[in-house]
């Protein structure tokens, strides 16, 4: 029924809006781009970004002025510049410094996205560490724990609960931001749709298909987010 209805929508004798053969044949390459590049790029960048973020957050709340200063400049520089410009600097710009700085598209994108996630997520993690009451640090210290033991066993588990919703937002944003990597030749989901569109001129349909695939990925992720939050809720008063 839907197929018939859509096929009837013909604008000025142009081709039908939905070309189902093209839809099915374009899906394969796009999903392949998603599985081979979009998803690995997202996962690797998010994992590296989180490590950078925790270290940056700790530097920012540390008593060392130098560490805190470095962290502050890093966060400010990343947040103050467009992600696309960062990608271009790493992929197209750095090679001017010499052959050692020539990187493939995928690692370039990983570096740019990790640094980006690191800066944004560090603010989330810093805020969630600070949201844990000071008494929790003290309780850890009074049973003889060191700074590190208290941080890892007492503070971070509680901060994690607080940071899951905003970090999930970052993660979902990252999935979509990876489409920018198409501009530095990473053959990910969106670049695949561009390639096919360049051949067939079905821009609207192909970009809508790409949008639909991103939407599906993000929808699945938000379901997973809900599950994680529920799991972590078990020790929180309701």
């Amino acid at each position: 029924m839907a197929k018939m209805f859509l096929n009837e929508l013909i604008i000025n004798n142009a081709a039908p809006i939905v070309d189902w053969d093209l839809f099915w044949s374009s899906l394969g390459p796009m999903i392949e781009g998603g599985i081979k590049n979009t998803i690995p790029l997202t996962l690797i960048s998010f994992a590296c970004g989180l490590v950078i973020a925790v270290l940056t957050a700790l530097a920012r709340i540390s008593t060392s002025k130098i560490l805190a200063g470095i962290a502050r400049v890093y966060v400010s520089a990343i947040r103050g510049t467009p992600l696309l410009v960062q990608l271009f600097i790493i992929f197209y710009g750095l090679p001017n410094l010499g052959n050692a700085f020539v990187l493939d598209p995928f690692p370039s994108a990983c570096i740019a996205f990790s640094l980006n996630v690191g800066a944004y997520a560090s603010e989330i993690i810093r805020a969630s560490i600070l949201s844990v009451p000071k008494g929790q640090w003290e309780a850890g210290y009074t049973i003889g724990m060191t700074y590190r033991q208290t941080l890892f066993r007492i503070i971070l588990p509680q901060a994690t609960r607080v940071s899951i919703p905003p970090l999930s937002n970052s993660f979902i944003s990252l999935v979509k931001d990876t489409s920018l990597a198409s501009q530095i030749l990473v053959v990910e989901l969106f670049r695949r749709s561009q390639e096919i569109a360049a051949r067939t001129y079905d821009f609207l349909q192909l970009y809508l298909t790409a949008a639909l695939l991103y939407w599906i990925i993000c929808f699945i992720l938000s379901i997973i987010q809900g599950r994680i939050e529920k799991r972590l809720d078990r020790y929180v008063a309701k």
Partner: protein, 249 residues
Amino acid sequence: MLISVKNLHKSFGDLDVLRGVDLEIPKGNVVAIIGPSGSGKTTFLRCLNALEMPNKGTFSFSDGFELDFARSPKKEEILKLRRKSGMVFQSYNLFPHKTALENVMEGPVIVQRKKKEEVRVKAEELLKKVGLAEKMHLYPHQLSGGQQQRVGIARALAIEPELMLFDEPTSALDPELVGEVLSVMRELAKEGQTMAVVTHELKFAEDVADHVMFIDGGVIVEQGPPEEILKSPKEARTKQFLDRVLNPS
């Protein structure tokens, strides 16, 4: 003497909170620390395990361990000091992501690196002792204030501290829950646990303490046996304070 404190000074910025406090706590004694709010009594207690870092002063323990805060102590010395004492907080500060039992086991397992199975047996005993045998697998938010505070006491006891520090342990509790916490503390005192207790419970101080110290303005105004300090104080400030506490309206 389990611990003697000499000439303890602490200031926050320009504010001198402690201005030369001396105290000796013999092994097995209970010292009650009383005083008006802002007198420095809580700060004094928190200095005893370096939650607040004193600016000046020395601690010496019976086993020869000494700390001189004039030359800022090393991290290891601070850890050693903290492992000698257990602290019970006014606001309990239980770890909310761990059950009562896990709260109690955390210190011995993580800090003292004892075997989990042995620690579990001891932790269960401690929780039984504070009357929470039935509740040991519940999370803090599932417990009442009095129950949480008793877990707090068990958690502090689990590291087998030479000295137990109590910072107004009943002040955050509903009146009907105060008794269950105090009775656990009485029990501990009877067993010979050395304790320093900041409290507003004068009846408890009178019954349980061996020694009462009244702090005001960052100095010890008066100290001695409870019947002396609480019944016939010599200093005007002590009299005034006791009068206000005993006749609030």
